[in-house]
């Protein structure tokens, strides 16, 4: 537990120092969201139909792009080595890094998404569904993504490989996440979609940290 808190605190502190990275997601999101009307044209119906897709694609891209660097800096400067030889269990450390990643990408995105949805003209209940779907779905991106990042650490062609590994796992999350919002827009109960997302989350909570730990040990061998 100390290990978890120590690492979490440090990750957040570094993010705060850099500011860039934390703000980056928001900048990114606002860019994606506000550029779409620019590129696509500002018809209200079209925008409403797009809102969930835009939010979810932004979440997916933000995750994908920040994951490549999840372990890279710690790997390069020797911190990861220290984490492996530390008496603290590696799982706690990895979980803390995953948590930090979610707090810095998934959570801000989820919280900002309703604002964007509002601008795109989503009704209140759809906004709620959007928020819930992102809150349940984005941790899956961090959890499974971390495993992918650990597996491709220090591997030649890591970037594309990471995409190849995790995208197939992410697409269902996107489809069900955006699907939930679309369902609520056309008056269908989104619970089915959301519970599917929940099941995904449960599975990835089991699989993600374990796979990440194992992969990190291999990467540093």
């Amino acid at each position: 537990m100390t290990g978890f808190l120590t690492v979490l605190r440090r990750e957040l502190r570094i993010a705060l120092r850099r500011k860039g990275d934390a703000l980056n997601v928001l900048v990114f999101f606002v860019v994606v969201a506000s550029l779409f009307p620019l590129g696509v044209g500002p018809e209200p119906n079209q925008l409403r139909a797009m809102a969930a897709g835009v939010a979810w694609i932004a979440a997916l891209l933000a995750a994908l792009l920040s994951l490549a660097r999840l372990f890279a800096a710690d790997y390069a400067d020797g911190t990861l080595e220290q984490m492996l030889v530390a008496p603290q269990p590696l799982a706690a450390v990895v979980l803390a890094k995953i948590c930090a990643h979610w707090l810095l990408t998934g959570l801000p995105l989820a919280l900002v998404a309703p604002l964007i949805g509002l601008q795109y003209g989503l009704p209140a209940d759809a906004l709620c569904v959007l928020l819930v779907s992102l809150l349940v779905g984005t941790p899956v991106l961090s959890l499974l993504g971390a495993a992918g990042a650990a597996l491709t650490l220090g591997v030649r062609g890591g970037g594309a490989l990471l995409g190849l590994l995790v995208l197939p796992l992410f697409v269902p999350v996107l489809v069900f996440g955006a699907g939930a919002v679309t369902a609520s827009l056309i008056g269908i109960n989104p619970a089915a979609h959301l519970s599917l997302l929940g099941a995904f989350l449960a599975v990835s909570l089991l699989v993600g940290p374990w796979a990440s730990c194992a992969a990190l040990r291999v990467a540093l061998d």
Binding site: T2, G3, T6, V7, R10, R13, I14, R17, R18, A73, A76, D77, G78, T79, E81, Q82, M83, L84, V85, A86, P87, Q88, P89, V93, L220, D221
Partner: protein, 200 residues
């Protein structure tokens, strides 16, 4: 008590060394020598449990090394594990609490390494030697950790810092600690039970 038996390591399919057997007893210093690329770093990483040996085993107190070992060992490699964004003190505090060492002594440790003036400077601005000193400050916190594995601790240090680090090592050995180190420079640590191994 650290022991190896018939230890062998490989890198990229290349056998670096094999059939290495030695032991380090309390108060003992083991110096690993050898040319560039002869496998010193690899050996130390194997002793730390980071690299899986191709053959043989590392034993600690008679047992193959496992989870409990990690709390009794300090490994400092080539990479200083220092984050540019954090201040020198924050860096030390983090590595101390990751290693379950006492956080409260961090300032004293920095003082011992002669960098207490830099405690609040972001590590990005440190000079090469100051960065190394910041990494080595952990030694001053680790008196209670029995086994130290140090990879090139003296590189980039000036004479004053070398003397400081050597003194820390000597104290540790005198108190019954164990020390394995690699160094291309002469090591000014006085210790009764010094052993060298040479890799080629």
């Amino acid at each position: 008590m650290l022991e190896t038996s018939a230890l062998a390591c490989e890198r990229g399919g290349l056998r670096l060394f094999s059939d290495l057997g030695f032991s380090v007893a309390p108060g003992g210093l083991l110096r690993v020598r050898g040319a560039n690329g002869s496998g010193k770093t690899t050996l130390l990483r194997a002793l730390a449990g980071l690299t899986r040996p191709a053959a043989g085993a590392v034993r600690w107190r008679g047992e193959p090394i496992g989870d409990g070992y990690r709390g009794e060992m300090l490994f400092l490699g080539h990479a200083p594990a220092i984050k540019d964004e954090l201040s020198v003190l924050e860096n030390l505090e983090f590595s101390a609490s990751l290693a379950e060492l006492k956080n409260s002594d961090c300032k004293i440790a920095l003082q011992q390494m002669g960098i207490s003036r830099l405690a609040d400077l972001p590590a990005r601005y440190l000079s090469q030697g100051q960065r190394k000193r910041a990494a080595l400050a952990r030694l001053a916190l680790s008196a209670a950790v029995p086994l130290w594995l140090l990879d090139e601790p003296f590189a980039a240090l000036d004479d004053e810092a070398i003397i400081g680090v050597s003194a820390l090592c000597a104290t540790h050995l005198a108190a019954g600690g164990m020390l394995v180190l690699t160094s291309h420079q002469d090591v000014p640590i006085s210790c009764a039970t010094t052993r060298d191994i040479e890799l080629q």
